[in-house]
């Protein structure tokens, strides 16, 4: 298949330091010109290398209909890449070819003038995005109703709340009909119902066979919306492949954490004279180390530790944190076998099992500790961010998500039983129903 986007050796260098300040005044330019002969003497200095490459040697192709995610740390070059493809900035090296028009949801609300009404701004914004006036006129009702601010459409937008403003701006951009669409963190703003609308729109656009380049810091949004992900680091493409794989790689790299952690040297292993942790890993029922787990399957967190002193009563414990740093839960070993039982010196393997359909999608970080409750409370070791794993959603409809495709909020996502009773008559008072259903 022929690519719709072709990027070859793209590089963007930003001037830094004394050579190319953001802008020069006449005086500085004149001074620089006068100093030029002297500069030449010092030409051996690595002036060029001092400058920052926001993007370097980036090459890839995108086929029509692909939804490609761009991820990476701040300053990795994601936005620069979109800006080059959108022809806002010019690359320093390389070239690109687009076999279709490109539009962007990047500039939500750009060109809106506070003194103009919502309706006037729709036309202005449309013209900026390259939508023809006739086309805009034809789809005006659709745009206005999508924005849900019909009754305020003739008021100046300076009187709008930020939510209304955003809705209106997104509505115009969402009606762009370009073959390639770029999105930069648009889903990060707005309330939940609006975010849902945006995601529905993305799914709709995807269904139309248009190509989408999606930049986001939300790893769960990227894995859900994109089939392919390109990971950028310091301006270079470091990985390009299936979404879950690349996202997981990135999470592991950026946190310097993987699904398994070992301490081969007993001296430096976390712990004290009583106990030392030697290995922690995330495992499946089959015993494999698992960086990714299906949301429906149970996942085990296993800790291997060595007890160095006899007759100690020990309790291993785990804490789970999600991507946002929310403490999802804290658990410790309440199994009957070693509870309140002094342990002989030796090696122990404890596994905590999280049932399937418990955790939400996304990445979880595990903190591993070993404590004593008897005779007094004592913390032997606490190791944060030892291992990480990703809970991925299936699209088969038998998880708690059901038939819903958007972002599901919440720290946990239990699959709970539901009961619905049916009554033929509609004139039963609510209080009676309350009694009937036994609540």
């Amino acid at each position: 298949m022929r690519p719709i986007i072709k990027v070859e050796n793209l590089g963007k260098q930003y001037g830094f330091g004394g050579l190319h300040p953001a802008y020069m005044t006449f005086r500085e330019a004149a001074a620089a010109a006068m100093l030029k002969p002297f500069k030449r003497v010092r030409r051996g200095l690595p002036a060029i290398e001092e400058r920052l490459w926001a993007l370097k040697d980036v090459s890839f192709e995108v086929e029509p209909g692909e939804v490609v995610g761009l991820i990476g740390d701040n300053g990795a070059g994601k936005s620069t890449l979109l800006k080059i493809l959108s022809r806002i900035v010019e690359p320093t090296t390389g070239y690109f070819e687009l076999y279709g028009r490109i539009g962007s949801l990047l500039e939500v609300g750009t060109g809106f003038h506070p003194d103009l009404s919502g309706r006037e701004n729709i036309f202005l914004n449309g013209a900026l995005l390259g939508i023809k006036r006739a086309e805009l006129q034809r789809r005006l009702d659709e745009i206005v109703s999508f924005s849900e601010i019909e009754q305020f459409i003739d008021l100046p937008v300076k009187w709008y709340s930020s939510g209304m403003y955003l809705r209106l701006a997104f509505s115009v951009a969402a009606h762009l009909d370009t073959e390639i669409l770029t999105m930069d963190e648009v889903l990060a703003v707005g309330d939940i119902s609006f975010q849902q609308k945006c995601i529905d729109k993305v799914n709709e656009i995807r269904g139309q066979g248009r190509t989408i380049l999606f930049v986001s810091h939300s790893m769960s949004a990227v894995t859900r919306l994109c089939e392919r992900v390109i990971l950028l680091d310091k301006g270079r493409v470091v990985k390009d492949g299936p979404a879950a794989e690349v996202v997981n790689d990135y999470m592991g790299k950026s946190l310097n954490v993987t699904a398994v952690r070992e301490w081969p040297d007993p001296q430096s292993a976390p712990g004290n004279e009583v106990v030392r942790i030697r290995q922690v890993r995330v495992r499946t029922r089959e015993g494999d180390t698992a960086p990714q787990v299906d949301i429906r399957n149970p996942v085990g967190i296993e800790v291997i530790y060595e007890v160095l002193q006899p007759n100690q009563i020990l309790t291993p414990s785990f804490d789970l944190f999600n991507e946002q740093g929310v403490h999802v839960f804290a658990v410790h070993d309440v199994g009957p076998k070693w509870r309140r039982e002094p342990r002989p010196v030796g090696r122990y393997v404890s596994t905590m099992w999280i049932p399937g359909n418990t955790l939400s999608e996304g990445h979880l970080l595990v903190q591993s500790s070993v404590l004593s409750y008897h005779p007094g409370l004592r913390l032997h070791t606490r190791e944060p961010n030892v291992v990480t794993f990703q809970v991925v959603e299936s699209a088969e409809g038998d998880s708690a998500r059901g038939d819903y495709v958007g972002a599901v909020p919440g720290v946990v996502r239990p699959l709970l039983p539901w009961q619905t009773d049916f009554y033929q008559t509609t004139d039963i008072a609510p209080s009676v129903i309350k009694g009937l259903s036994g609540v």
Partner: protein
């Protein structure tokens, strides 16, 4: 990152994540007709001078229209007098100039009533000066647009000038009134006003493009401009006729393209002979400035988003 490697990766990604329904859709998209040649090409231009892309400018004419309309609409929002300001400014200036230069000092005016004489100079001058002034800040003021959307950047300063043309048209109403008050009989030369306004516009665009692009690079321009415009005003025969300058030095005055334009305005109004040499020179200089302005603009345009 190898291109060939991606295809196999992509295949597995598609088959892994797509439900049967969407896979079918995906197959349908494969037949999506792509153009033979890229619609958009971009790359490192190095030191080349980019050409003007007239077709693209034309395709963005609606944006020019909307930006002009926005400028006009916003300019007089929340003002009590609205568009009347476009009339008040040159009119009051005309009264003050008439009082001081004609009545008190007695500046000659080539046997044209001084108010008509000075107004015919103020009209193109005000348009030109305010255009250049508005152009100067236009790009920096539109940084939100420039760093976020692609469109031919030239549209921004040109829209600022187009909005000025509307003011010019409103202010010209006074001129019509003055012509009647002083009982000047209109002649066919009045038709020359249209090409004269066009010539002023060409000059304003040329200088405006140059100034707006330079302002992005050197913010000093903003400080220098009011001062330069003030000198330019006195170097144009607005309050005085060309004839007060010694004949020996009149050629210097003629190098100012506004000299030809302003004298042309007066000739058109009172039906006197046009100074074609002066007009031809003004046209040649204006069009040259337009070309230079456009080229410099295109050259600097590429780094606007980086600098702004």
């Amino acid at each position: 990152m190898g291109i060939t490697g991606n295809e196999s990766v992509l295949e597995s990604a598609v088959s892994k994540r797509h439900t049967p329904a969407t896979r079918q859709e995906h197959a349908a998209h494969s037949s999506l007709a792509l153009p033979e040649n890229p619609l958009i090409k971009g790359g490192a231009a190095g030191g080349a001078w980019p050409a003007l892309n007239f077709r693209e400018l034309w395709s963005y004419r609606e944006l020019l229209y909307f930006l002009t309309w926005r400028d006009i609409k916003v300019r007089y929002k929340q003002t009590a007098m609205g568009a009347a300001w476009a009339v008040v400014q040159p009119f009051v200036t005309m009264l003050v100039f008439t009082l001081f230069f004609s009545i008190f000092i007695g500046v000659p005016s080539d046997r044209i009533p001084y108010p008509v004489f000075v107004y015919a100079g103020l009209l193109p001058w005000t348009f030109f000066a305010s255009s250049v002034n508005n152009c100067s800040g236009s790009l920096v003021g539109s940084s939100a647009l420039i760093t976020k959307v692609y469109f031919p950047r030239m549209i921004i300063p040109v829209a600022a000038i187009a909005a000025g043309l509307v003011d010019l048209a409103v202010a010209a109403a006074i001129l019509v009134g003055l012509v009647f008050v002083y009982g000047l009989s209109p002649t066919w030369s009045l038709l020359m006003l249209a090409p004269l306004v066009m010539l002023t516009t060409v000059l304003a665009i040329g200088v405006g493009l140059l100034i707006s692009a330079l302002t992005v690079r050197y913010r000093d321009v903003r400080h220098a401009l009011p001062f330069v415009l003030q000198i330019w005003m006195f170097a144009s025969p607005i309050i005085y006729p060309q004839s007060v300058v010694p004949v020996k030095w009149q050629w210097v005055l003629k190098l100012n393209p506004l000299t030809g334009v302003i004298e042309g305005f007066r000739s058109a109004l009172v039906g006197r002979e046009f100074d074609w040499l002066s007009l031809g020179l003004a046209a040649a200089i204006s069009f040259s400035l337009l070309i230079v302005g456009a080229l410099v603009f295109r050259r600097l345009e590429r780094v606007f988003a980086d600098l702004i």
